[in-house]
């Protein structure tokens, strides 16, 4: 599994200095990722595109002959990227997707396009197939491998480019006339989703401001500019306002394997309030945010949570001395358990949280789920 791969990576005797040098574009991107001011302004889709582009550069320009070498190479460059910003899940998701593409293309090219593409494990496979997915030998030389991987990655990039549009197009199915929608903080995807629906029908949006960053202010102002009737409330008023709401629509930072969310702080409160009044919670999520790991796997490394400075929204910088007298915790994310989410809208349509494990087995290879394990 991943363990053996990474061990080989670090202890392989053929480990020539030149073979294992970090690719230039990866190094460049990693440097930017580790820069705090870039981190606070980047968007997830930008990170996704740049990760894929830099890994594509590794595949095209670095020296490798077998799939095994390439996998090691991606592992090493990937580790470098993940270290730059360990709390960013999109980078690791993309690394795993690329690894999956490599494995898939390798098997396909090796057996000249006859085998099923499904690399996931299943009970049926345990019984019928003689070959195990985990002990496939990746060290055979396949001359066509590079071109087929690049082709597949190009296809994948096109999929990534269209995924946002695919989600927005579903807006009309989910939003109806005269409904009251509640959202929290700012999400470009939610904004575009609501605007798309507003083209054909009128509805009202209640925006919770979303402490500590108060990005709900931008959301409210953007929506009102698009002629959507908008109400801005404080986070503390979420519960009070919930009883009149028809739907809650939010974005998320990542979706865990079980369908739980790692979303902007306050989302759990919002979801619980919605649950109390039995109001559906809809989460918009492009599939690149789907993370094949469980929350617990992050927690073991303390990467799940991220905290900001107390002066970013909790205490006034003039009162900074307050921090000397008491502990101030300013987390960025909430974990929302899957039971509180009614529906996910992804680029492949609407799904219940319990369905996500299927996407995971389709999009990722079991050996890559947890790169640190």
């Amino acid at each position: 599994m991943a363990t053996s791969d990474s061990q080989l990576n670090s202890s392989s005797p053929t480990n020539d200095e030149n073979d294992f040098k970090i690719n230039k574009s990866v190094a460049h991107f990693a440097k930017e990722l580790s820069n705090a001011s870039y981190r606070s302004h980047k968007s997830a889709s930008e990170v996704v595109f740049r990760t894929v582009a830099s890994l594509k550069d590794v595949i095209m320009n670095d020296q490798w002959t077998t799939a095994k070498e390439l996998i090691d190479l991606i592992h090493m460059n990937g580790d470098h990227l993940m270290e730059a910003d360990p709390s960013e899940t999109c980078t690791s998701n993309m690394i795993k997707r690329i690894l999956h593409i490599i494995r898939e293309e390798y098997i396909e090219d090796l057996e000249s396009k006859t085998v099923e593409k499904d690399t996931s494990n299943s009970l049926k496979k345990t019984m019928t197939s003689e070959r195990r997915t985990k002990d496939i030998d990746y060290s055979k030389i396949v001359p066509t491998l590079k071109t087929s991987i690049i082709d597949h990655i190009n296809e994948f990039v096109t999929e990534l480019e269209t995924c946002k549009e695919n989600i927005i197009q579903q807006a009309k199915q989910h939003l109806h006339a005269n409904e009251i929608i509640m959202t929290l903080g700012y999400s470009k995807l939610v904004e575009d989703f609501l605007k798309k629906a507003a083209e054909t029908r009128t509805f009202e949006v209640i925006v919770a401001a979303g402490v500590p960053l108060l990005e709900g202010h931008d959301m409210a102002s953007n929506l009102s500019k698009a002629n959507i009737q908008t109400t801005l409330i404080s986070d503390a008023a979420i519960f009070a306002m919930m009883s009149r709401v028809n739907k809650v629509i939010i974005g998320t930072n990542a979706v865990m394997a079980s369908g739980g969310l790692r979303a902007y702080t306050g989302s759990h409160t919002l979801a619980l309030a919605a649950n109390y009044y039995s109001i559906p919670v809809i989460v918009l999520v492009p599939l690149y945010k789907l993370c094949p790991m469980e929350k617990d796997a992050f927690e073991a490394n303390n990467y799940f949570h991220k905290v900001m400075a107390p002066t970013q929204g909790i205490v006034n910088p003039d009162d900074a001395s307050l921090a000397d007298r008491c502990t101030i915790i300013n987390p960025v994310f909430d974990y929302v358990p899957p039971e509180l989410v009614t529906l996910f809208i992804s680029d492949r349509g609407g799904n219940a949280p319990s369905y996500f494990y299927r996407y995971i087995s389709e999009l990722y290879h079991p050996a890559d789920h947890n790169l640190n394990l």
Binding site: S122, T126, E294, D296, S354, R358, L373
Partner: protein, 292 residues
Amino acid sequence: MKTILETEKELSAGMAAIRVLLKVLEKSNSKTIQELREQLIDAIAILRTCDCPITAINSGSELFLRFITLTALDTQPFEECKKIMLDRGNTFYERLVESRQIIAQKASIYLYGGQTVLTHSRSRVVLAAMKRAAEKKCRFRVYITQSSPDTSGAEMVQNLRDLGIPCTMILDSAMGYIMESVDFVMVGAEGVCQSGGIINKIGTYQMALCAKALNKRFLVLAETFKFTQTFPLNNRDLEPEYKFTHSMLQKDTAEQHPLVDYTPPELINLFITDIGILPPTAVADELLKLYL
């Protein structure tokens, strides 16, 4: 066949059943698939009469028959087919043996240190998971129910103490009392139903209800060979042969304590299996892939 099963006590009953059936397959002198199938069905009927929990035996043999059918579909001449069956049967069995370790590895993300876990009765796979975590130097605390009527919890406590894992045995009736102080519940299963519910040692249902009431996660560690095509809706629906041993069925069952209960899928958060971490709804999917 009974004797083979008895000497294999350390093995789970389902695995033992598959092993016995492999032996039958090896020694069988049948000339056609049909005949072989009948012989196996006879053997299964004998296995079912032995005095141990039948759930796993059922799922194991069900799976074995399906495996025979699937292989029979692939090749034509019987002699060749039988050879392939034996060959595949052995790799299949080896893989089942490995599955416990795979689960232990997957479960390690939940046991990374610092947790308090509640478990019920004795489960080999839970033990393997805890053993692996302890070997990785993760410190966690375990509460184990004594688990009437056979007090198998006591055996589990002994096993965990031998591994140096801090553990406490509690009374079955103290489940509710202890629930507030644990982080999650981790149990094994004798059988996993198509609905995504589980059949396990009596008291599991109660534990799942308590966990739900206090919003604690309920994790089930189960090998995929325990998946069965049954669909009970409640505990009364459960076949008597699951609930009682063969010898108990000879007497008045109203006077007997059932040995297992059914826990519905709503009370289960996740399954940790050798094919991955799955929600309860995934069980039906896997079974459909196999039997369609």
